[in-house]
């Protein structure tokens, strides 16, 4: 008798849409009351004032209107502005804040991406100071950005971040800067006075910002290289906010092209400076600062797109179900009345795709935020450990890390050995070795951040289009419940700012080949194989095979040459490296999605409030994992096959080819496409992956059926 994997428990129906208690577990903040409150508070702002502005048509103006400006007070009031600060600076969240900011972005973008951007851009403006500023700069500016308290006589600091310049100068790809800094005056024994010339393009929050962190290059032999400086509205000189950008998206944020020509003290160089042989040497050049800023802020942008996909589910179900009600055909109680468009298989299956993508992208994004929450303290400790070890400068640091790499690998090997059979003492030593853990964390952080920015936004916007189409003509009107049309358009900006997709792909194509990342990736494959044994319904088997296929192909490409003898995996070969980066994102998203569902299954059982609904949620979410794993495997298979075979020489069309391709009896010579050594191994892996897709469409059918019966609220809860 053949055996079948769990095909879903008919009793375990999805009863309602997932609520906060489910999300708190999946995204790992069930024990963080500060974050749970922040979520509620951000939600109130999003579904209240923000949603009302969207409904009133405020998105139809480019200007920073009074109505839009009122949002700042709402953010302040709700703790959104202060969430970024340390308690001693006036904040209320202790420790790393990546997950906190991710949740705020998610809640605001559930209604409007522009509102999320506007609120986050203030943090972005502060981030250079937060990441690399001197202690004095940090405390000063972070405290002043805390909203004015009753009785205080000051203005709240509203920051903006100014990197991008008018063409042909710098985009986010930190190229040539036209912004310049030079020494205006330097009196003996006194602090130098600097003059800054900077023009910005597309600078968020510029309609009201009163402080700007700007990237500039030296225009003076007495200043070394580039740096970032802090500009204040009250500095002497020109502070021109510029004309509002005529953007078609995110209109609840303010964007313009400012011009600055200002005199500032040298103490405004972010991170400080030293004087060597009469030359000012900034502690950090602008690329170093920007790298540490964007590696965190890009995660929140990725999550904005996830929120939009998940926010589309409820309005679409309501629209589809009620599509024919009230007309002359279809009496109450008839399938046409009760189910409307949900009678049609395609409608609900496409919605399954939208939901599965939203789940996967949220899982990837929140995982990335958590990676940074764990990584932040390690990074801070690493700096002091390096300093104590006398390691100075980036090169020395690289050498030092290289010397620790074997220990990091040893740690990974030990974690995979069975407990009891391994050297536990050594394992513990390595677990508490900050540098080892830092290196492992960094290898993952450097992948998941660009992956989530790239895939969540880029692929997310494509799927958002599907969501819009499920609402028919209504989808592309301003009145569409859930503002789906606006969210679709907005997605294009999320895919662009803080580095367009190409920039993320370029970063991934380097970081994903790092040995420490690949070693951890291998561990994830092994982990999925174990999961597949106990939870086949997740599609973990197909996913693990897809990951192995990707890994095989990466190894192959790293060594292979094309038909002209040129190396395949090389920096300039974006046609090879970029698709591999894309493929990896699919895998990572599906991997983290499965992790979140397993977490729900285990921790959900401890929450009595979930007792009724848990089996249904777990079963449904596993089906979504299966759908997503299958989609990931399909995408990876397509990319890999094209790259593996696409760069081999195409033989002349011959009888033997004809025989091969038309299914006749093939000889060894009759298979020219397989003539390359070792490609049979690829085909074996590929075939194994394909055959592991068994059951995926059954999972999709089940998930679709669940969508046709799940209970939804009577009306959307925004605008309130």
């Amino acid at each position: 008798m053949s055996q079948h994997a769990d095909t879903g428990n008919a009793e375990a129906n999805l009863k309602t849409l997932p609520g906060d208690d489910v999300r708190q577990i999946m995204w790992r903040f069930a024990d963080r009351f500060d974050l749970q409150m922040l979520v509620q508070s951000a939600r109130e702002v999003a579904r209240g004032p923000v949603a009302r502005l969207v409904a009133e048509g405020q998105r139809n103006t480019h200007e920073w209107t009074e109505e839009k400006n009122a949002l700042l007070a709402a953010y302040d009031q709700a703790g959104i502005t202060t969430a970024f600060m340390e308690p001693e600076q006036g904040g209320f969240i202790a420790g790393p804040k990546n997950l906190a900011l991710a949740l705020i972005a998610f809640e605001l973008a559930w209604v409007d991406g522009g509102a999320a951007t506007g609120s986050l851009a203030g943090n972005l403006g502060l981030s250079p100071i937060h990441e690399k500023g001197t202690d004095e700069q940090k405390n000063h500016y972070m405290s002043l950005a805390v909203p004015v308290q009753p009785g205080e006589e000051r203005e709240t600091l509203r920051p903006a971040f100014c990197l991008t310049e008018p063409l042909p100068y710098v985009g986010v790809d930190t190229g040539v800067l036209s912004g310049k800094v030079k020494i205006k005056e330097w009196r003996e024994g006194e602090e130098p006075v600097l003059h800054v010339e900077k023009r910005g393009r597309f600078i968020t929050n510029m309609g009201f910002a009163n402080v700007v962190t700007a990237a500039v290059d030296s225009d003076d032999p007495r200043i070394k290289g580039s740096c970032m400086v802090i500009l204040e509205e009250t500095d002497p000189g020109v502070w021109d906010r510029g004309a509002p950008t005529k953007k078609m998206v995110h209109q609840l944020s303010s964007t313009s092209d400012p011009v600055f020509s200002l005199t500032i003290p040298a103490s405004r160089i972010i991170g400080g400076y030293t004087v060597e042989d009469g030359v000012i040497v900034p502690a950090f050049n602008h690329s170093q600062i920007i790298e540490s800023v964007f590696r965190r802020t890009r995660v929140t942008v990725g999550l904005m797109s996830s929120a939009k996909l998940l926010s589309a589910v409820e309005p679409i179900i309501r629209y589809q179900r009620g599509r024919f009600r009230g007309g002359s055909s279809g009496a109450p109680g008839s399938p046409r009345f009760d189910l409307g468009l949900q009678q049609k298989e395609d409608s609900i299956q496409r919605l399954v795709d939208v939901w599965a993508t939203g789940e996967a992208s949220a899982s990837l994004g929140f995982a990335a935020a958590r990676v940074f929450d764990e990584f932040d303290p390690l990074e801070a400790q690493k700096d002091s450990i390096l300093a104590a070890a006398g390691v100075e400068g980036p090169r020395a640091a690289l050498r030092y890390f290289k010397s620790k790499q074997e220990e990091a690998m040893a740690f990974l090997r030990l974690t995979r050995q069975p407990a009891g059979e391994r050297d536990e003492a050594r394992l513990e030593d390595l677990r508490s070795d900050v540098i080892v853990q830092y290196m492992l964390g960094e290898a993952v952080a450097n992948v998941v951040c660009p992956a989530c920015k790239l895939w969540n936004t880029g692929h997310g916007v494509n799927v958002m289009r599907e969501a819009v189409s499920l609402m028919g003509g209504y989808g592309i009107t301003e009145d569409c419940p859930g503002f789906l049309g606006q969210k679709w358009m907005d997605g294009q900006l999320e895919a662009t700012y803080e580095g367009p997709e190409a920039v993320q792909r370029r970063q991934l194509s380097v970081t994903m080949t790092h040995d420490l990342f690949l070693a951890q990736f291998e561990g994830w494959i092994a982990e999925l194989r174990e999961i597949a044994k106990t939870h086949p319904q997740t599609g973990a088997c197909a996913l693990s095979n897809a990951m192995e296929l990707w890994q095989w192909v990466l190894n192959h490409l790293l060594g292979a040459k094309d038909a002209d003898g040129k190396r395949l995996y090389a920096g300039a070969r974006q046609g090879v490296t970029f698709p591999m980066a894309d493929a990896l994102c699919w895998l990572l998203a599906a991997y983290y999605q499965i992790q979140d569902v397993l977490e729900l299954e285990v921790k959900g059982a401890e929450n009595p409030a979930l007792a009724d609904g848990l089996p249904g949620f777990v079963s449904f979410f596993q089906d979504l994992c299966h759908v997503q794993s299958a989609a990931a495997a399909g995408e990876v298979g397509r990319v890999c096959t094209e790259l593996v075979f696409g760069y081999t020489a195409q033989p002349l069309w011959s009888d033997s080819c004809h025989q091969c391709c038309s299914g006749g009896q093939a000889t060894a010579e009759g298979r020219p496409c397989l003539a390359e050594d070792g490609l049979q191994d690829y085909l074996a892996l590929r075939t194994r992956m394909d055959s592991c897709l068994c059951g995926t469409r059954m999972a999709k059918d089940r998930a679709a059926a669940a969508l046709a019966q799940v209970m939804i609220p009577e009306a959307l809860d925004y605008p309130r």
Binding site: E44, A78, M711, I712
Partner: protein, 269 residues
């Protein structure tokens, strides 16, 4: 008023009104479909009374606010993630059924037990606040029964305003028929006020207030005593929702007056 008021607000959760509320017969009696999984909000009239209480406590130094909630513990914890951000209070939890299928008498008894057990509560300074009715059942009886049980003589229902006079007297406006108010004065606490909407807007969320409240809220949830109310202690013969009818007719070229007239007649039945 020397030393301020001791304001005890009784309020619990009700399902979010946007949800589909469909009565179903469960193994233990009637309830709502998927009741345990529906998101909840603070019972609206009780909520108004909480905000009025916090406002009063702010104005009369030495006052203190308790929120006494009878509801399922895990759901109350979730609810606190919003309510606790609004105003400062100390939470007292009774773990039990907060659904619409309970009986005012047994709910009042459970609340009275919890209130009597509050350490440091001075009955002579007690203002018992709550909603004039609950959005889940709308019987409007619980607060009056509770007032009786606590030995309070001064009771007001449908309150929209409470002013403390210079002599310490309480000036109260109660809603009566025809959009009018009944104005009364009583000498001072103890008194029971079942609030209507009051006059205050819902305070905005402030996570900082929330974090302060949470210090006491988690221990209060852990300490909560379980009580059995509703299903299991009561028998329901029948349960049904008021039927809603939709009658649609497509007509052309009918004057507005005629349409209005028809609606008036329909309303009159």
């Amino acid at each position: 008023m020397s030393g301020g008021f001791h304001i005890v607000v009784c309020g619990s959760l009700v399902p979010d009104p946007l949800q589909t509320l469909e009565p179903v017969q469960g193994p233990n009696g009637p309830g709502l479909k998927n009741e345990g999984m529906l998101p909840s909000v603070l019972d609206p009239w009780a909520g108004h009374s909480l905000f009025e209480a916090a406002n009063l406590a702010k104005q009369v130094p030495g006052s203190k606010v308790w929120l006494v909630s009878l509801g399922p513990k895990p759901k109350l914890q979730q609810l606190m993630m919003t309510v606790a951000q609004k105003v400062p209070f100390e939470l007292v939890v009774v773990d039990g059924n907060a659904g619409g299928f309970t009986e005012s008498m047994e709910v009042a008894a459970a609340l009275a037990g919890a209130i009597n057990a509050i350490q440091g509560l001075d009955p002579s300074r007690l203002l018992l606040f709550g909603g004039c009715a609950s959005a889940s059942r709308d019987a409007g009886a619980t607060m009056q029964i509770l007032g009786e049980m606590l030995g309070i003589d001064e009771m007001f229902l449908g309150v929209d305003e409470l002013k403390v006079q210079a002599d310490g007297g309480l000036h109260v406006l109660e809603r009566i028929e025809g959009g009018k108010y009944l104005a009364s004065v009583c000498a001072g606490p103890p008194a029971m006020l079942g609030w209507a909407t009051g006059n205050l807007p819902e305070p905005p969320n402030n996570p900082q207030v929330g974090m302060l409240n949470m210090r006491g809220i988690m221990p209060a949830l852990q300490r909560a005593q379980a009580v059995k109310v509703g299903a299991g202690t009561l028998q329901f013969d029948a349960v049904q929702v008021p039927t809603q009818r939709r009658e649609t007719r497509v007509v052309k070229d009918v004057p507005v007056e005629e349409i209005a007239q028809e609606i008036v007649e329909w309303l009159k039945g």
